[in-house]
């Protein structure tokens, strides 16, 4: 089932389509100019040893963001029916 969740909630290797970036100002600008935009497909590549920041893959490049930044990014993912995040 498709559902829009925050990027922070995504699991390792999970894929999805970016729907919305709610951050504005400095953070919003930076997130966008680094190559994140509505419609982009992304995949979680991994997390740093202390679980933060998170590394994501978009097409052929990899970005890292802190969890508080990932909180303002909404991703549409395809969740299995028994997923707790539903």
């Amino acid at each position: 089932m498709k559902k829009v969740i925050r990027m922070r909630e995504m699991l390792k290797h999970e894929k999805g389509i970016l729907k919305k970036i709610s951050a504005m100002g400095d953070m919003g600008r930076r997130i966008r100019e680094m190559g994140l935009f509505p419609g982009a497909s992304i995949q979680i590549q991994g997390r740093a040893p202390l679980k933060d920041p998170v590394a994501i893959k978009i097409r052929d490049f990899v970005l890292t963001l802190r969890n508080n930044e990932a909180d303002s990014i909404f991703i549409e993912v395809d969740l299995p029916d028994n997923d707790q995040r539903l």
Partner: protein, 791 residues
């Protein structure tokens, strides 16, 4: 006359812009700063098809907003200098994202050429690009290339010449940003075009766009007009209110999203990919190098490796520099008679210049190592892994490199450390880092520690050294925390950062990188450090002994010599002072201290006497032969004389030191340093240590009547201090911590000034002194309360 084309080279970081620039211009590069800012401006010249093409390398940016110095510099250059063309280097594998910058150049209207770099990699990844269609849809010439191997460079230059000859006009494109924004854009453009107050350098629609994006630089300019300013402001306010109410987004975000929409409209038709997410080699390497457990271990090994490489590789060149300066010193001793000029040349000029050049090999190899880490892509991984920890202290993952180079593993140098903060992009994080790196245990502090540890903690040498390393990290991190929550307070900057694919760096790129940064250091720091070391030399020299004191010492010396010459055992051997001088020369040459004097003029009995004296001095009585026995008495007397003269000389130095500006300062400072237990001798040593920390040891040596103390061999000074009144383990530890934290050395202060401003350099002196004083105060007072330090 030769025809000239000026092009601006732009591109995202990691697009291969520097590689392309090096490939086009080769070694014919010129480096300066953009006027008024510290951003590097590189330019180069290339000749092609009868044109002289000047290439100006714009700073690598992702965007053209007014929020970073680099972006302002890049767009100001394009607007004010009006280059004939902008060549935008884009990564062929990631067109969507790299076109974000290209689109903004289009918005400015400047004629643009798209150089698609690394097309070989894109092809290998199964990405197919229709260059012809891309060129039509984006309305710009497209040149595929591989900058690393030089493929496509000459086609790029062909295209530059072609495009230039067609002399395309500046023409902003018609990109739609949605109905609301478009309408506001039209209104604002109309106002701007009507007005006479605004110059026409900027396209009106671009200005309007920047207004809606909330660009302070452009808004500030427009607000100066008393009539149009408020009108424009009102339109902007209205549209913000409107979009926030209807879309919950500000115009800036909407504009950004529409740019990507415009780009996606083009790339969807032009780019064909086989797979959405490919696992490439880089991802496989990251599985190991950023793994939760193996990653940090590898990082420690790699950082340690970089640190060891820097110091290992620079060891031998530093020896060459030392040898060279020793040679210069000898030359000065030979050419210039003893006196103030010689002292100035040796202690002021040569030691000062040597101080600068001595760091050059270190800096060169440090920059080489950093360039390697940056170009290979590993530096970003370090920041990624350490961000969570360093963020808490208000620093950035990349701060760690500067701290390691400065002595984070014990033994390092804060000068390259300060320069290493250049990799930090946020100004506040950068300044916080460069202010705290002097707390690390650099190589010059180690002799001071070694001397004091040998004197007072000889049983736990290794443990104390390790503890001092941890202590310096603790001080640096907490100082950063203090700075970031007071003077350098500011919101945490967004971290979003690219993890570029791992690449083998090109040797050419590494060499150019490290050499040009080193050369800038030599040029900029050289003159200032020279001036400062002369000033410090003067402080340690003037006014010196008074005439009476000098006379007094002379009289005492003469009296000793006369008594010696009058002694019955000597009278038959030495007639006058000249004989004594000859004897001194032979004695010293036999000890191997000076060159052998001409043989034929030496009376044999003087030679024998010197010989005996040497045996006696070495307590080598078994080797005393028959000839020696005649001279035992005379030899003993001679050695006594030498020792007594040495004592007088020492007292002279001590007296002279007290009568200098530094000595005066040391005495005056006693009022302040009393709670720390430092008396004037320690104070003088600390003042002198401003030149370089290892000088603390040699100055303490003079102050405690030891003569020249070799920083490498501090045993005798340790012995002396252990028995000196007022010295005990607590006092020694207080001095160790104070030395760790107090003022950075001159070379570091100058580097801080060059990397930030005069104000921050001055601040760093005061800040470090305050921290050092507070820490030393607490240690000593708590120590006394606990009943330590009596003895």
């Amino acid at each position: 006359m030769k025809k000239k084309i000026v092009i601006a080279l732009s591109g995202n970081p990691n697009a291969g812009k520097t590689t392309a620039f090096n490939a086009i211009t080769g070694a014919r590069q010129h480096i300066a700063n953009y006027p008024g800012v510290t951003v590097e401006k590189k330019s180069g010249i290339v000749f092609h098809k009868g044109y002289e093409i000047e290439i100006v390398d714009l700073p690598g940016t992702y965007s053209l907003t007014a929020y970073s110095l680099e972006e302002i510099v890049a767009r100001d250059f394009v607007i004010n200098e009006r280059p004939d063309l902008v060549v935008d280097i884009v990564d062929a594998s990631n067109l969507d994202r790299h076109f974000y910058l290209a689109t903004q150049f289009k918005e400015l209207g400047v004629p643009l050429i798209l150089a698609l770099n690394m097309v070989d990699v894109a092809e290998a990844r199964g990405i197919k690009i229709d260059y012809g269609r891309l060129s039509t849809d984006f309305d710009a010439p497209v040149v595929p290339m591989v900058a690393r191997s030089g493929k496509g460079i000459s086609e790029l230059l062909d295209t530059v010449v072609d495009t230039f000859e067609k002399s395309p006009p500046w023409k902003p494109p018609a990109i739609s940003y949605g109905l609301d924004i478009d309408r506001a854009l039209d209104e604002i453009s109309a106002i701007i075009e009507k007005s006479n107050t605004y110059d026409k350098k900027y396209p009106a629609r671009w200005r309007a766009l920047k207004c809606l994006e909330g660009d302070n630089q452009i808004l500030g300019l427009l607000k100066r007009d008393p009539i149009c300013g408020p009108e424009i402001e009102e339109i902007c306010d209205n549209i913000i209110r409107h979009t926030m109410a209807t879309l919950e987004e500000d115009p800036e975000s909407i504009i950004a999203d529409h740019r990507y929409g415009f780009i996606a409209g083009i790339t969807k038709k032009v780019v064909k990919r086989q797979i959405e997410f490919r696992i490439n080699a880089s991802d496989k390497i990251d599985k190991v190098l950023t793994n939760r457990i193996i990653g940090p271990l590898c990082m420690i090994l790699i950082l340690y490796g970089v640190y060891s490489f820097t110091f290992w590789a620079s060891e031998i060149p530093i020896l060459w520099f030392d040898k060279f300066f020793d040679f210069l010193r000898d030359a000065v001793v030979f050419l210039v008679p003893e006196g103030i000029i010689r002292s100035l040349l040796i202690s002021g000029v040569i030691d000062g210049v040597g101080g600068v050049l001595g760091f050059v090999p270190l800096i060169l190899f440090m920059f080489f190592a950093i360039a390697f880490m940056e170009d290979s892509g590993y530096m970003a991984r370090v920041a990624y892994m350490l961000d969570r920890i360093l963020r808490w202290f208000g620093l950035h993952g990349n701060s760690v490199m500067a701290m390691v180079v400065s002595g984070g593993i014990s033994g390092g140098c804060a000068v390259p450390g300060v320069l290493a903060t250049r990799i930090l992009k946020d100004p506040k994080e950068r300044i916080a880092t460069l202010l705290v790196v002097p707390f690390m245990n650099c190589g010059a502090k180690l002799p001071v520690y070694a001397m004091l540890i040998t004197a007072f903690f000889s049983k736990d040498k290794a443990r104390i050294m390790f503890f001092l390393t941890l202590l310096s990290w603790a001080f640096a991190l907490f100082a950063a925390k203090i700075l970031r929550s007071t003077v350098l307070k500011g919101p945490k900057t967004p971290f979003v950062m690219e993890l570029p694919p791992y690449r083998a760096p090109t040797i050419k790129g590494l060499l150019i990188h490290s050499w040009e940064r080193t050369w800038q250091y030599i040029k900029k720091a050289g003159t200032v450090i020279l001036a400062f070391s002369v000033v410090l030399w003067a402080m340690m020299t003037f006014p010196g002994l008074s005439e009476e004191q000098t006379k007094d010492f002379e009289i005492r010396e003469n009296a000793l010599i006369q008594t010696f010459l009058d002694a019955p055992d000597i009278r038959g051997l030495l007639k006058n002072r000249e004989d004594l001088t000859t004897l001194d020369n032979i004695f010293l040459s036999m000890k191997g201290a000076t060159a052998t004097p001409e043989n034929n003029h030496i009376p044999p009995h003087l030679k024998d006497m010197a010989h005996t004296a040497i045996h006696l001095e070495n307590a080598d009585e078994r080797n005393l032969d028959k000839t020696d026995s005649k001279y035992v008495k005379a030899g003993t007397l001679y050695l006594n004389l030498r020792e007594q003269l040495r004592m007088i000389d020492m007292q002279k130095h001590q007296a002279a030191m007290k009568r200098t500006i530094a000595g005066w300062l040391g005495l005056k400072l006693e009022v302040i340093t009393k709670p720390l237990g430092f008396e004037y001798r320690t104070n003088i040593a600390l003042v002198a240590g401003f030149a370089a920390k290892e000088v603390v040891v040699s100055t303490l040596g003079t102050a405690y009547s030891l003569g020249e103390v070799d920083p490498e061999d501090t045993g005798s000074l340790s012995e002396k201090l252990r028995n000196a009144p007022g010295w005990n383990p607590l006092q020694a530890f207080t001095l160790i911590v104070f030395t760790m934290l107090y003022v950075p050395c001159i070379a570091t202060v100058i580097s801080i000034r060059k990397e930030s401003s005069m104000g921050w350099a001055g601040f760093s002196i005061l800040f470090n002194l305050t921290i050092a004083y507070a820490a030393a105060f607490v240690i000593r007072q708590v120590g006394i309360l606990l009943g330590l330090g009596t003895g």
